[in-house]
Structures are given as structure tokens and as C-alpha cells.
């Protein structure tokens, strides 16, 4: 027994020493700093003698998969690209674009967009540079495109780079992007972070891929206001002020990101003052956080919670083929009430897929009102009546009994219960099925219920390719089949007019023309009631009282992070 105790004690001591030594903040890898030497001017994290050092602690509920542009679509990683990288142009708190690495945003007026809409010419700033002092030039943009489309790189998505015919440089500050066909969504989809060619090109030339480059996880060379310092798996990541930054220097010394997967723990940490910023805050936690002195900030991000009707003769309830029934359902649900009671009035009911893009929601649509009597009249008119007095309407021997499925997210289950009750009052029986996320969103090949269109009404949070208005996945050829199992039209709606309008807008580089087409689509969605908006699904942040000057964007979330400050 004594031997075992000794062994245990020894193991504890060794593990503690390993932990305390192994995890000590380490300077950026000199190997990746280039010839100019380390650019990360880092102070030790243990600095009790330097109380003026400002460290902001952010809580992320998911850990990064990697930190490289192109290689991930994870929201949390995207936020880091406003710290140690940049988009060519970014988006402000109103989700309006502003130039970052370019001198101005390309437009037809400034000659940045060719007449045929295929060529985008970008003028880069002449003062931008990487944190190791290497100038950031057109070559970095060309290299980023090459890496995106290289078949040996397992990037998360090749979109929209696979639509590009060539990227060339007229000079170090002029990038010319030529698309194969006119490509409207370029502003929202191009240049989400830039790869440093001088760091990664030698690796690509040696290995034929950058998949294994250390930079993907340790991007010590960056071009943002902060430099990546350290990422300990499962625990934290640190970004320290880039003293070599070409723009306005950051006010906070260090951004410390702690990975806390449990929502309740995140709330406890925020209340205890162990963090300055919380992400993806649940609505139920908002009152408690406000009471603890935190501010709740809500930023539209293009996503809204939608009910999608299965308007398909082979799938879905036959009643849903009649637009009057769909409209009746929209009018029988008190969506304003759901927003007020379940979401604490922090959001509003979306009337359009483009609510967060007012330019495209023009003229702005108004929601169908909550009017159960009008809903009953519509159902009567459509021939759905409760002849047998069982409380459920029927027609031709078929009950108006509709299957509605969504995930087990608490707010969805609460809303389902309310909708079930309200629809019952107009004679519609709603069978609700909460399904685990992973099972619900499994692919068509894996017999995922959403992908297979197994329910009459499906529900999840969705939107256009924000901040671009495109919505290609409503196309008829995106309906999944055994031959095309990767189709993304899980609504199984094939409307020829909608199909042609969606195809048209994707090629309209002229914003005004495109706006007209999107408005037509908007009206079509509204008239046909293919979807019902339940609530906008914005990003919800909890901000501690000592964190100042914080603004959020729904696109480039931490676009003004260099202006954030800490005040006791």
C-alpha cells in the first residue's frame, strides 16, 4: 500500500511539474518569423509585477479545428482572422463593407469591375505588411488562390475560388481577378483571410501540399493588430499585440481565449468575473447575466429560424400543396408572442430571407398577422373542415395532421409546444418530433431525416449566403436523389420561376439589377408561403463591464478589436 501511495504521489508531482513547465507561455517559433526575426513582442503571462498589462479573457464554447484561412468554416476561427489576419475588405456593425487591405472597394464607378462583370481589379494599400516586416503584396493573394484550388490541399471549401479563371498581378499593389463567368457574390465571398506566401510557398514546393504546415495551427506570422502567440489544445489560445502592425495599434495587450464547452460553466465564469466576453449566450441566461452587471449585445448575422414546408407531391402532407393552408398556418401561429415570451423580445420575427440585408429586402415585406379566425376561414375555403367533430380538420378522408421536426435545442422545443397548442385551436394537429442535432442533420446517404425530407415541416436556422443574398441551394437540381445524394435542397421544392430567378441573380454583377431580382424572389417566397420566419437568430454576446469600445459585426465579427479597451 505504501508503495502504491508513493507511486501515486510521484505521478501527481510529475504531472504537475509537466503541466506547469510544459504549458508555460512560449514565444513564437523563430523558424516562422522570417529573416527579420521574431515579430511577436510578447511579455510573459505571469506578470504580477506589471499590473498595467491588459488581458481580456474571451470564452469560446468550441475549440478551433485550425487557424488557417481556407481550412475551416468554423465561426470561432473566423473571429481570429480579425485578430491576426484580415479580409481584403471587412464589414462594420451595420454589416456594411469597408476597405481593409485595399484602398477602396472595387466598383463599376472606380473601374474595379469590368463591364462584363468577369474581372475584379483590386488596389492594395502600399503600407500593409506581415508581422515579420515582409510586405503583403499581390503575390500573397495569388498564392492564396493557388492554394484554394490545389487538389492536394484539403481546404474546407474551394468556393468561390473554383469560379476564378486567373488571379494576376499588374504590380505588387494591383490584383486582377478574372472569373470564368460573371460572378455576383464576389464581395461577400472573396479573400476571407490571406495566406503568407513567403512562409508557406517553400513548404508547398517541398511537400506538394500545405496540409501539414505548422502555420495552419501556429500562424505566428500574421497581418492583423494581434499576433498569434500560443494555443494549448482544449485549454486556451493567446493573441498578443502586434507591435509591428501597419494600422492603429491595439489597446489591449493580450486577448486570452478560453475554451469552455459547457454553457452553464460559461455563465458561471462570466458571473464570477473570470471572463470579459461570452459567446452564443442562451436566451434563458440573459436575465441572470444582466443582473450580474454584464451587457447583452445582439448582432444580426443573416440567420433566422425558419419553418420550411415540404411542398412536394411525393413527400409531405397533401394539404401543404395548397398555398391557402400554408398561409393559414402562418396566421395561426403567434410569432410575435413567441419572440416576446420565449426570446425575451431580443429578436424580431423575420418577414424575409433578407431581413438582415435591408438593401435586398426592398420593398420591405410585412409578416402575415396572427389571426386565427382568418386562418380558419382560409382552411374552410381550401376544403379542410372538421366534419366528424374530433377537433382535427379533414378532407377526402385525410386528417390535417402534420409532422413537424426540429432539433432538441431548448428554445425550439418550447416554441414547438406553443405552436402545437395554437394550431390545435384552428383544427390542425401538429405532431412534434425533437431530434438530436447529429441525427437530424445527417446526410442523405446516412438516411438523415432532414436530408431525406421525411417531415411535413422542417425547422432550423438558415439564411442566404450572408452578407451576399445568394441562395443557390433552393435550385431544382439541388434536390437530393440516390444519383445526387449531396444535393442541398432539403426543402424538396422545385419552382421553375424561383429556379430561373435564383440563377439570374447569381450572374448579376450590377447591384441595382440584382436587387430587383432578389425583390422578385422575396415576393415569390412571401406569396407562396414556402417558408415561415419564427425569429431572427442573431449572435448574442455577453460583455463584461470592464471591456469598452466593443462593436460586433455579423460578418467580420470582431472588426474593431484593435479599438477594444479594458478599464477597471
Amino acid at each position: 500500500m505504501r508503495m502504491r501511495k508513493s507511486l501515486m504521489f510521484f505521478l501527481v508531482v510529475v504531472a504537475l511539474i509537466l503541466s506547469a513547465c510544459g504549458g508555460a507561455p512560449t514565444p513564437a517559433s523563430p523558424g516562422e518569423q522570417g529573416a527579420a526575426g521574431p515579430a511577436v513582442t510578447e511579455q510573459p503571462a505571469a506578470a504580477p509585477s506589471q499590473p498595467e498589462r491588459k488581458v481580456a479573457t474571451l470564452i469560446y464554447t468550441q475549440e478551433f479545428d485550425n487557424l488557417a484561412p481556407l481550412y475551416t468554416s468554423m465561426w470561432f476561427v473566423w473571429t481570429t482572422w480579425q485578430m491576426n489576419n484580415h479580409w481584403a475588405w471587412e464589414f462594420d456593425e451595420n454589416n456594411e463593407p469597408f476597405p481593409r487591405l485595399v484602398t477602396e472597394i472595387p466598383s463599376a464607378e472606380n473601374g474595379g469591375i469590368s463591364e462584363d462583370g468577369r474581372v475584379i481589379t483590386m488596389k492594395l494599400r502600399d503600407d500593409i505588411k506581415w508581422s515579420d516586416d515582409t510586405p503583403l503584396t499581390a503575390d500573397d493573394f495569388i498564392f492564396t488562390w493557388e492554394m484554394a484550388v490545389s487538389p492536394s490541399n484539403t481546404v474546407a471549401t474551394t468556393y468561390p475560388y473554383d469560379a476564378i479563371e486567373s488571379v494576376t498581378a499588374l504590380d505588387p499593389q494591383t490584383v486582377v481577378v478574372t472569373f470564368t463567368d460573371p460572378f455576383a457574390p464576389w464581395l461577400a465571398t472573396l479573400w476571407h483571410g490571406i495566406l503568407p506566401a513567403h512562409v508557406l510557398r517553400p513548404i508547398y514546393e517541398a511537400e506538394g501540399t500545405i496540409d501539414n504546415a505548422d502555420w495552419l495551427r501556429n500562424p505566428t506570422v500574421g497581418c492583423g493588430p494581434y499576433s498569434f502567440a500560443e494555443w494549448e489544445s482544449g485549454s486556451y489560445a493567446r493573441f498578443v499585440r502586434n507591435e509591428n502592425y501597419w494600422g492603429t495599434p491595439a489597446k489591449i495587450d493580450e486577448i486570452f481565449i478560453r475554451f469552455v464547452p459547457d454553457d452553464a460553466s460559461q455563465v458561471a465564469a462570466l458571473k464570477a468575473g473570470d471572463a470579459d466576453l461570452g459567446t452564443f449566450i442562451s436566451y434563458a441566461d440573459v436575465p441572470g447575466l444582466k443582473d450580474a452587471g454584464l451587457s447583452i449585445m445582439v448582432e444580426p448575422n443573416g440567420y433566422s429560424e425558419w419553418m420550411f414546408f415540404m411542398v412536394n407531391e411525393e413527400k409531405g402532407h397533401p394539404a401543404l400543396l395548397d398555398v391557402r393552408v400554408r398561409k393559414a398556418i402562418a396566421m395561426a401561429i403567434d410569432r410575435e408572442g413567441i419572440n416576446r415570451d420565449l426570446l425575451l423580445g431580443l429578436t424580431k420575427v423575420p418577414a424575409s430571407f433578407w431581413d438582415a440585408l435591408p438593401y435586398y429586402n426592398d420593398p420591405p415585406l410585412e409578416n402575415y398577422p396572427y389571426d386565427p379566425e382568418a386562418a380558419k376561414a382560409l382552411l374552410d375555403e381550401a376544403g379542410w373542415v372538421d366534419a366528424n367533430g374530433d377537433g382535427v380538420r379533414e378532407k377526402d378522408g385525410v386528417d390535417l395532421e402534420i409532422d413537424h421536426a426540429t432539433t432538441i435545442r431548448e428554445i425550439r422545443q418550447d416554441a414547438q409546444a406553443v405552436m402545437q397548442q395554437q394550431l390545435a385551436t384552428v383544427g390542425i394537429k401538429l405532431n412534434v418530433s425533437p431530434v438530436d442535432d447529429t441525427l437530424y442533420f445527417a446526410s442523405y446517404a446516412e438516411n438523415g431525416p432532414a436530408a431525406r425530407g421525411e417531415f411535413d415541416i422542417q425547422e432550423w436556422s438558415d439564411g442566404p449566403l450572408f452578407p451576399d443574398p445568394d441562395l443557390y441551394y433552393w435550385l431544382c437540381d439541388q434536390i437530393p436523389t440516390d444519383e445526387n445524394p449531396v444535393g442541398e435542397n432539403w426543402f424538396y421544392i422545385c419552382d421553375e420561376e424561383l429556379d430561373s430567378l435564383i440563377k439570374l441573380q447569381s450572374t448579376q454583377v450590377d447591384a441595382a439589377e440584382r436587387q430587383k431580382t432578389i425583390s422578385q424572389i422575396n415576393q415569390l417566397f412571401y406569396d407562396q408561403v414556402y417558408i415561415i420566419g419564427l425569429w431572427q437568430d442573431p449572435d448574442v454576446y455577453a460583455v463584461g463591464s470592464r471591456l469598452k469600445n466593443v462593436k460586433f459585426s455579423g460578418v467580420t465579427m470582431f472588426f474593431n478589436i484593435s479599438e477594444w479597451d479594458l478599464e477597471e
Binding site: M1, L16, P25, A47, T72, E232, F256, P261, A442
Partner: protein, 344 residues
């Protein structure tokens, strides 16, 4: 004994092979890693097909298992989707020490596991130490003073602790000792993580941050172990040889710790032997709630996103540990009880 150990190790090889096969088949059905790579959106169909091809997920299951087992450096793969396999594989297979590359972290599985293992060991070994030491003290005390007020009080407290789910213990202790204590102006414990970023990662900070996780992990097992020890000690203490030892005039401490406890330890060693390999797996719930970067969270995070190489790596590590610790348990049996012999 040496031959016995060798024989058990050899028996473990086909067992591990069988375990790996079953686990691989199960894991292949746990989800689609590419489906979640689109972030909040469904992965675009063209990216979906490309990534499955590049990551080798488009191959039949038996080929994927073969590659996982022996590697694919003897085969060529089609990376660009032109139908021609022209790029040589780079994997060596688990039999040659290559556990593969994480589909999410894009680095070797052993490196991914190696980053988390020390944190888990630190937490779990400390907890196991608290559990064993505490339950021995309480178990022996309760056995020696059966039905006394303290025995009844301890029994009541331990049953309450045992009946609480660990997430409840963890969250309530965090709320009380961190949030409320701070509100009341008392010295308070940290909520999450391994250290305060302002103070830096020092041994004192790590120890301070371990208090609540260790408390949460220990409480339930502590209750179970101490009841177990109490029961075995009561049984042994009523044996004739204990009475003989007492009547010979041996000091009470010697009777309890030398004669009784050693014999009462045999069933306890079995329980501990079964528990020890599971320490490697970490405490899934506790690590998640206290944001402790250990193996339990690693497993959960990667199961969630169907990162098969990492999940298989963790499971195989635990499987090997179970086999090895069972052999060690048998050896300890023989050490504790001279009557046990494994060889003729």
C-alpha cells in the same frame, strides 16, 4: 510468473485486434466528419465529394480499416478526382506506430493525445489518490466503529453524495464556491480552466484550479469505495485469525493495518485495477464543466465531429491499458496473497 505475463500479453494481441475491428465498425457509423465541415451550413456538394476523396472516406469500410491498420503507402490515391490514382499514400498504419492524422486538428493523432494525457493524468491521479486515501480512512473508521453515531452520520452523508449526479455536484460546487463566495466577499475558487491568464500558469495556480474538479470527481467514487472497504473490513475483522492476533496481544494498529487490511484489500485491488486504465479516458463530464483540457473532453469533442482517427486512437489506448492493468492486477494479487499462484 514471467511466462505467465508473456502468455497473457500474447493472448492480448488477438483480443486487441478483435476489439479494434468492432470499434472501427461502430465508429464508422457514428457520423460523417465532412458533413460538419461547412460550419453553420451544410457542406457544399462539390466540397463534400472532394474532401471525402482527399481524406480517403470514399473508400469501402474494409479498405479504410486496412489503411488504418497497415497504412496506404503501398497504394496510390486519386486526389484530383480525375479517376486516375496517381498520388502515393503516406500513412503507415497503426501496426507501424502511425495512428493517423486528425481530420479536424490536421496533426498526428499521437500528438493530439499526447497534449491532453498529462492534464488528464494530473486530474485523475490526484482524484484517485484522494478517493483511495479518503475511503480507506473512512471505511476503516466506520468498520471499527460499526453503528456508532459517526458511522451512521458518515453513511448518511456518503449515500447523499453517491445519489447525486456528477454534473450536479460540479455545477452546484462551482456556483457556491466561485460565484456566491465572490458575491459574499469570501475567498473564492476559480470557475474554469487551469490558471488565471493574468497570473500565468504556475504550479500554485494549477493546484488552485484543480480543487473543484478533484472534489467533484472524488465525491461519488469516494462514497462507493468507502462503503466497499467498510464491508470487506467488517468481514475480515470477524475472522478467527484476527481474534487470534488480538488475543496474542498485538497492538490494535498492527492488527488492523497488517493483518486485516491486507486481506481485505484483495477485492478492493480488483476494483482499483479495473478503474486505473479508465483514468486515461478522463472524466468526460467534469472536464467539460470545468473546461479542463483532458482526454474526456478530447474524446467528446472528436466523437461529436466524427474524427475517427482520434477516437480510435483514444479507444485503442484504453483497450491496451485495460489488458496491461489486468495483468498488473493479477501480479498484485499474488503479492498480496501468497496462496495465489499462476504457474504449476
Amino acid at each position: 510468473m514471467g511466462r505467465y505475463i508473456l502468455k497473457r500479453l500474447l493472448q492480448g494481441i488477438p483480443l486487441l485486434f478483435f476489439v479494434s475491428l468492432i470499434l472501427f465498425l461502430l465508429m464508422m457509423n457514428m457520423g460523417d466528419p465532412v458533413a460538419t465541415m461547412g460550419g453553420r451550413r451544410v457542406t457544399r456538394s462539390s466540397d463534400y465529394e472532394r474532401l471525402r476523396r482527399q481524406l480517403g472516406l470514399d473508400k469501402p469500410i474494409y479498405i479504410q480499416y486496412l489503411y488504418w491498420l497497415i497504412g496506404n503507402d503501398w497504394a496510390k490515391t486519386d486526389l484530383d478526382g480525375d479517376g486516375i490514382a496517381e498520388t502515393p499514400g503516406t500513412r503507415h498504419g497503426i501496426l507501424r506506430g502511425d495512428f493517423g492524422t486528425s481530420l479536424l486538428a490536421r496533426k498526428p493523432v499521437l500528438e493530439v493525445i499526447g497534449e491532453r494525457l498529462p492534464n488528464t493524468l494530473m486530474l485523475m491521479v490526484a482524484s484517485e489518490f484522494v478517493i483511495i486515501l479518503g475511503s480507506l480512512l473512512v471505511g476503516i473508521y466506520s468498520a471499527l466503529r460499526q453503528y456508532s453515531f459517526m458511522d451512521n452520520l458518515l453513511t448518511a452523508i456518503l449515500f447523499i453524495a453517491y445519489s447525486m449526479p456528477i454534473f450536479f455536484i460540479a455545477l452546484i460546487s462551482m456556483y457556491v464556491f466561485s460565484v456566491l463566495f465572490k458575491r459574499w466577499g469570501l475567498p473564492y475558487l476559480p470557475t474554469v480552466g487551469m490558471f488565471d491568464p493574468q497570473a500565468g500558469r504556475t504550479t500554485a495556480q494549477v493546484l488552485w484550479h484543480m480543487v473543484l474538479p478533484v472534489l467533484s470527481i472524488s465525491l461519488i467514487s469516494f462514497a462507493a469505495y468507502s462503503r466497499y472497504i467498510r464491508s470487506t473490513m467488517l468481514e475480515v475483522m470477524s475472522q478467527d485469525y484476527i481474534r487470534t492476533a488480538k488475543s496474542k496481544g498485538l497492538p490494535g494498529r498492527e492488527v488492523v493495518f497488517i493483518h486485516a487490511l491486507k486481506n481485505a484489500s484483495l477485492p478492493i485491488v480488483t476494483v482499483i485495477g479495473l478503474d486505473l486504465p479508465l483514468l486515461l479516458g478522463g472524466a468526460v463530464v467534469t472536464e467539460r464543466i470545468f473546461a479542463w483540457p483532458g482526454m474526456g473532453r478530447l474524446f467528446l469533442d472528436h466523437v461529436d465531429r466524427a474524427d475517427l482517427p482520434v477516437v480510435m486512437g483514444i479507444l485503442m489506448l484504453i483497450a491496451v491499458a485495460v489488458v496491461v492493468f489486468q495483468i498488473i492486477t493479477d501480479v498484485v494479487y499474488a503479492w498480496l496473497d501468497p496462496r495465489i499462484r499462476y504457474e504449476k
